[in-house]
Amino acid sequence: MSPVSQSEVIHGRPPGPSGEPVLSVRALAKTYNAGQRTERPAIADVSFDVAKGEFVCVVGPSGCGKTTLLRCLSGLLGPTSGEVRFEGTPLQAVPDRLSVVFQDYSRSLFPWLSVHRNVAVPLKVAGVPKQQRETRIREVLDAVGLDDVGRSYPWQLSGGMQQRVAIARALAHRPDMLLMDEPFASVDAQTRFDLEDLILQVRRELGITVVLVTHDIDEAVYLADRVVVLGRAPSRVKEIVDVPLEHPRTQLGTRSSDAFGRLRGHLMELVTSA
């Protein structure tokens, strides 16, 4: 990582005005069954930018359309109006340089494939030759702290380890950006802390841009450089909050700092007053 971006990360500001944002969301709106009697607006008006290397969390009260937003950001779902640009081009489908980690690893990992082969799938799709594939698989499994479970099946592992596999798989083809949908919601508290630190470490080591959707305010503050706060459905951006906590963050130190408490309180107010 270049010294410039390093200092920016330390100050917790979005790295540099240099270049375009990786992800740019403009007046995004999504209404299900538009024009029909069952019409249900999920997102009213959401705009924000994500700079290269930035970690942005999106929080909001439950049922505020977070998952809809994530599906729109990933290109899995077309917006009703507005625009999402990824690396400058408007989204038509899921862009190549983007990976998604879903909330429920047990519904996203392939239970009929071993861990090793699960991670190999995106590489095979991308046509990476076998030898290179093996190296990559070893690298990413190592990066998420799983180096000796390649031959196991996902269902033989604990929840936390399964989500690590899902993260490794998402990282395998070296995406520029990782989209995560409440990735730590289905694991216990201790594992959750471990995984949060893991994702911060992965982000630091790979310089990857991360957008993470969560309903957990503490988690958002702990992880993010900036937090996008959504109101109740149909959601709008209530405020975008900078998180100037210093890096590297630690569960104990960061969470018990005054700055953390103030940010948390501010966000809590925003979310509950929705």
Partner: protein, 255 residues
Amino acid sequence: MRVPRIWRLWFFATVLVLWWVLSADSTSTFFPPLRKILTQLYELWIVGDARRELWSSLGHFAIGYPAAGLLGIGIGALLWKFHRVGHAVSPVLYFVYVIPTAAMLPAIVAVMGIGSPMKITVIVLAAIWPTLLNTLDGMRGIDPVMLDTAKVMHMSPVRTVRTVVLPGAMPQIMAGLRHSLQIAVIMMVVSELVASRSGIGFFILEAQQRFAMTEMWTGIIVLALVGSALTFLFIAVERLVLAWYLGARAVEQKG
């Protein structure tokens, strides 16, 4: 405590012993002593050439059953993929499905005659249904998150089917194939009961018409043995193919 597998056959063994003992002095034409049946079975099927009938039947089965399985999976997958067509075709499908193939037999014989093509057709027409409907059902039941995952990875439609949809639906497809297997064996015999000159079904029917009851029983026993062997073979294959599924389910049940 785990009981060794062989001991689970105790009931089966008891039935055999009872059959042997109770039929030992039988003078009934219809229920000859088991000893006599087994002796004749040995003479006819092992020493003699009644096996020819079995090979002829199994030949039709060996073509008809795989054809039914492959067609069932293929058509099921197409109906899943093109679900608009699928929804239009479904009523017709279910209409045809409820017609017992045995009832169609006279029509099929009228059109195709009484040779091997007719017998294979009968097996395919009857055995295709469980696999087809289970394939369709299993594929429709794939978790949408799995399909999103495939999309996020930029899988082509063909790769999505091969890597995600087919394995995901495999537990149900295998259940369908197992049911299809039973039906294929039944139809293999039924197709030989109508205007036929060969096959194990013909052997049984012909023995009965000659009043050769012991011979008839040997045919039935051979059929039962063949059916069991096919089922065990299937279970062995299923354990291999669905090892992941059985493993995952065991983990789930343990909690």
